[in-house]
Amino acid sequence: MRWLRRLAIVALFRPLARVFTGADIVGRERLPLKGPAILVANHASHVDTLLLLTIYPSRALDRVRPAAAADYFLKGALMSWFSRSILNIVPVARDRVATGEDVLAPARAALAAGDILLVFPEGTRGDGEAMTRLKNGVSRLAAAFPDAPVVPIWLQGAARVLPKGAAVPVPMNCTVLVGEPLKFGGDRAEFMAALKAALEALHAQAPPQRWA
């Protein structure tokens, strides 16, 4: 199914992203092309995942896999098929955290296999302005793969193209800002703080968004 995914991203998502978002990218050369690597981005819209897949260089595309909530993305046959075959998600059973199950096992397996994992540590879509609290699962992944670069990415504008709950996408410019890679230094709380600071620094560089 690899060819179908490539075809969908290159022939369908890329032109769509061009029309609906303009797909401006700052720091494209900082995107890792080899795994294991972790991309960490803010989350405001379904456009985020598609936009990130479309701006990725083709030669590394097969390796990029978004971590996504199993309870949402594996619901229903069509959604499941799309999530697995086209998005090639790494499922995270966020609703089973309380049961003590190791919900990050699939993500660790993906990193061990050399994939580039895309993580939205907010855990859900926000309003497109400030970030909500970051969940620290990403620091556990970084601790398990201390040599994997962790690349902070700010996605500006996607919430205006398709906000949570909206059905009709509206073309508005989006900017993807890719930051310098972070490395896990040994302390998880420190790492989360550095990650949050890196994301907020990128946010400050993003074009203004006057949407109120």
Partner: protein, 322 residues
């Protein structure tokens, strides 16, 4: 294959072919200079200059191809340009989340406006945007029912549509001047001079300003613009239009003199007006679409003002059709 190409090019007005060849010549010269400069000044970084020139190639090839292909291609190209420009503008301007669907409606006026160009209904084109869209969008916004900041929001839509869609559309409308007109290089030749003079004016103002600029002309809006750049660019572009005008337009005498004197001022006005908008919005570039240049609006700002002026002067002094 080669025969077809020769036949195609020999069927084009010679002035247009020479004009396009001249532009490509200037660009090739710029490539030569940009290759030579790093050898003369090895410590300076010329990456931005090379990027700018690279982008010029793409823009010029796109425009030249459309001009040679005729009015349908120019109309389609400018509809796309209008869309990208409007998207840049609406993305940076103050927008209300309630107006998401109004944003969509604003985009939908583009195919209608350019549809009047394609159908060659000049009268409808003239009134559609400034009269009917002007009334309809605010009405649709009223129906949505959010009255907070209603007037600024309605005005923002109208400003964006008039500049990005209506004014730029005159370039495509000019392509509809029929062959029966006294156009020495066809409609494509007339559009060519508009684009070439507008961009040459931008470049001439920049070069004069760099070389001789001392006195700031609008320090609050465009701190890099100088009186020397403005006046030098004005004289250079006016001379260019005065001498090239008879080859590409039906104008002569008074009409041509007015065009030569007013077009460079309009280009300058478009540039600083868009600078004021950008300054208000707090950005330097409207996007990162064109490497080395910034956004599409950064490149098209002067054309937004020169296109209607050029069109109306040609229509008044030399074209029967409009």
């Amino acid at each position: 294959m080669i025969d077809t190409a020769i036949r195609f090019f020999s069927a084009q007005p010679p002035a247009l072919i020479w004009g396009l060849a001249g532009v490509l010549g200037v660009l090739t010269l710029a490539v030569g200079v940009s290759a030579l400069l790093p050898r003369l000044h090895p410590q300076k970084d010329y990456a931005n200059l090379r990027q700018r020139i690279g982008s010029w190639w793409i823009m010029i090839v796109l425009l030249a191809t459309a001009l040679l292909a005729g009015w349908p291609a120019v109309t389609a190209l400018f509809a796309v340009i209008s869309f990208i420009a409007l998207r840049e503008f609406l993305s940076l301007a103050h927008m209300r989340p309630e107006d998401r669907l109004i944003v969509l409606a604003a985009y939908l006026t583009i195919p209608i406006s350019y549809g009047f160009v394609a159908a060659d209904i000049y009268g409808f084109y003239l009134v559609f945007m400034p009269v009917y869209v002007f009334m309809f969008l605010p009405f649709a916004m009223a129906c949505i029912g959010q009255t907070r900041n209603y007037l600024p929001a309605a005005s923002t839509f109208h400003w964006g549509l008039m500049t990005c869609v209506y004014n730029l559309g005159f370039v495509a409308m000019l392509m509809r001047a029929p062959n029966s007109e006294a156009l020495p290089a066809g409609a494509a030749g007339a559009v060519f001079l508009l684009l070439a003079a507008t961009e040459a004016n931008d470049v001439a103002q920049y070069v004069w300003g760099k070389l001789t600029g001392r006195h700031k002309i609008m320090p609050k809006v465009s701190p890099n613009k100088t009186w020397e750049g403005f006046l030098g660019g004005w004289a250079t572009s006016a001379a260019l239009i005065w001498f090239a005008g008879p080859l590409f337009t039906p104008l002569s005498g008074m009409g041509l003199a007015i065009l030569a004197l007013s077009l460079p001022v309009a280009g300058f006005a478009g540039d600083v007006t868009m600078s004021a908008v950008k300054r208000d919005l707090g950005v330097k570039d409207t996007s990162a679409l064109i490497p080395g240049h910034g956004g599409l609006l950064d490149r098209a700002d002067s054309l937004i003002f020169t296109a209607p002026l050029y069109f109306h002067l040609l229509a008044y002094y030399g074209l029967e059709h409009f």
